[in-house]
Each structure stands twice: as structure tokens, then as C-alpha cells.
Symmetry: C2
Subunit: 199 residues, 2 copies
């Protein structure tokens, strides 16, 4: 039983459905809305609806964009022969933040996950082999997350694009920079040993 | 400079304006919206707009309600001779949660705060003396927060209603000084009610 009146409870539950929002935060946000003027509320929901209306996947790479082709794909200065395969647009942002990567991306929009009923056909994969061939790509760097599902997806992508003959690489696994070996988990340490390089 | 495209950035900043939401949380929420179906987004914003449209202050006590009179004021089982003056509806919810208070409320909708330019005329105060007289109230328990502004407001309310001759009490200092009633634990709140003293 909720101690809140119905429309407030519905609003709280709506906020709660957002990622990383617990009950207490959702209550605080809902009361925040009640403290807004009607105009502020209108602007708030309009910002959400407008983003939802205008943001769509880039025709080439699947990254979020407000145009048909995203700013990265339409940037003549980017190396189109190097394609980084990532799970989602958040990963693109992480790569862009470091300002060290000059290639382009291919955003899958998820991972293969039997648990959540997601198969290869649910991912942005069908156009990838053709894209590689047409662009004359020289390397595809697979940068899915270091999770079981990320690994499974990486394996699948790798097998799918092998026939194109492109060089396929995977992000290195190892000890995070600045971290203590003492606190590295077993699997990370095994991978770090496997991936060791000559000085 | 933002690494996000404009409509996404606008949505992130909209979320960030909610209480308790930092930049990182706002980004996570915005991506959560992008992961929704258009129908889910519609339902989400509609829940907010609907709450905003239907929720208004109770004609009698000023508490939030979806009707003209709130469920507490229209509950025949509540003691109308005991009025608890609180800053906002969040405080009402805190009192209701402990299920120990059987009186009614008077929600001020804020506190006197020169810092944020709020004076007595900005609060739901004008009807209080009349309400006390008309309802034949026997006691008004002032339960503003234990902050400087809450104290100032309590003093003001006390002076305002003194001419009615009603017994005026103040929550006991069971509430930790400087803290919000919203976050008080059940026992602290019960002790504070039991230990209330006359002004």
C-alpha cells in the first residue's frame, strides 16, 4: 500500500523505471516536479519527447544522431578503414572522450543474451560485412564489454566478418592502469598473463 | 563543450534540474529514455504531466491532493481539533508513515526565508487563524524542520495564531538539529510527538 495519492504514485513509479533510480530518488524527483511551475514541467517533458523524436540511429554505423548520418561518419578527417565495434552509444562516448581514436564505429545496440532473449538478429549486424567490403576497411577492432555476453557477441561478430578477410582485433584485457594487482580478480590476472608483451 | 548531440544534451540538462540528480545520473537516465520504446516514453511523460495537472493543494489544509479536499481532511475518523503545521507534503507523508498521529495537518508550502526571498505572504498562512476558530481546534502542534528557517517560521506561526487562544505546541527536540523531518526515523519521530511542549 502506498502512502501517496494515485497520480503521484504513478509519477514516482515512472521515474523509478529509469536506470539507476531507486524508490527514494524517484520520490524526490516527483516532488521536484510538483515544485516546478507548469511551464517548467512542460519544458521538462518536451525536452524528453523532443530528444526521443529527433534522435535515431545513424544509417551507416548505428550510433545515435539527429541527422541521417552521424557527425563521426560524416567527418572526412576520420579513418574509415578502421572500424570499432561497440555495444552501444555510451561506449562511443567513452572512446571519443579520450581523443585518441581516429577511426569510425559500428554500434550493435546490445549484446547476444539468451537470458534477455536477445539474438544476433536483434543487433545491428546485418549491414556490417557489406560495410566492411564497400569501405575497404583494413581493421575491425571489437570492443564489446569484458563480460560473458560481450565475449559471446565478440566471437559471433568475429565469425560473421571473417569471410571479408579484414584484420580482426580485440581490445586488450589486463590490469586497469593505476590498480593494484592484489585486487585484480583471478580471470583478469589470467588474461593479463596471457596477453603479456615484450618490454 | 559537450560530447553529446544537442537534443540529448538538452534532455540530460532537463533531468539534471531535478533535485538530487547529478550529471552522471542525468546521463544514465537520458540513455534510459533512448532505450525506451516511443510508447514507453509517451507513458513516462504522460505520468508526469498527468500528476502535474491533477495534483493541487487541499482547500482546507494545503496538502497535495487530486480532489478538492484531501483524504485526511475528509476522513471522519481524524481528530480535527488537533492541527499539525508542517512545511510541506513530504512532512505529512513522514507523519502518516508512523501511523501514530490521528490529527489533521496544515501545510505551509515552505518556510520564511529571507535568503530565498520567501516571506509569510508566500506561505499558506492567511486561512490558519480562521480555520482554528471555525473548527474549534484545541491544539496546534508546530512541526516545522529543526533548522533556523523552520524555527523562525514556527515563531511567526505561533505569534500569528496566539490571539485565537488555542494551545500551541512544538515538536520536541528528538529531531536531530539541522536535519529534515523527511529523513527522521520512526522512533525519533514518535518521541518528538510524545515530548512536544507548549510554546
Amino acid at each position: 500500500m502506498s502512502e501517496f495519492i494515485a497520480p503521484l504514485e504513478i509519477m514516482i513509479e515512472a521515474f523509478r523505471r529509469l536506470p539507476g533510480v531507486g524508490r527514494k530518488s524517484a520520490e524526490r524527483m516527483a516532488f521536484g516536479v510538483l515544485d516546478m511551475t507548469p511551464e517548467e514541467t512542460e519544458r521538462f517533458t518536451e525536452a524528453i519527447l523532443c530528444a526521443k523524436r529527433t534522435i535515431r540511429p545513424c544509417r551507416i554505423c548505428g550510433n545515435i544522431t539527429a541527422a541521417e548520418v552521424c557527425p563521426i561518419c560524416s567527418d572526412a578527417g576520420r579513418n574509415k578503414k578502421l572500424i570499432c565495434v561497440v555495444e552501444d552509444s555510451k561506449a562511443v562516448i567513452s572512446f571519443e572522450k579520450i581523443k585518441e581514436y581516429g577511426g569510425v564505429y559500428h554500434v550493435l545496440g546490445g549484446v547476444i543474451s539468451p537470458r534477455s532473449g536477445k539474438g544476433p538478429s536483434d543487433l545491428n549486424l546485418s549491414t556490417l560485412p557489406e560495410r566492411i567490403t564497400e569501405s575497404g576497411a583494413e581493421e575491425v577492432m571489437i570492443a564489446t564489454n569484458a563480460t560473458v555476453e560481450g565475449e559471446t557477441t565478440a566471437m559471433y561478430v568475429s565469425r560473421l566478418i571473417k569471410p571479408t578477410g579484414v584484420k580482426i582485433t580485440r581490445l586488450a584485457y589486463g590490469i586497469p592502469v593505476g590498480a593494484d594487482i592484489e585486487y585484480a580478480d583471478k580471470l583478469t590476472l589470467i588474461r593479463a598473463i596471457e596477453g603479456r608483451r615484450e618490454f
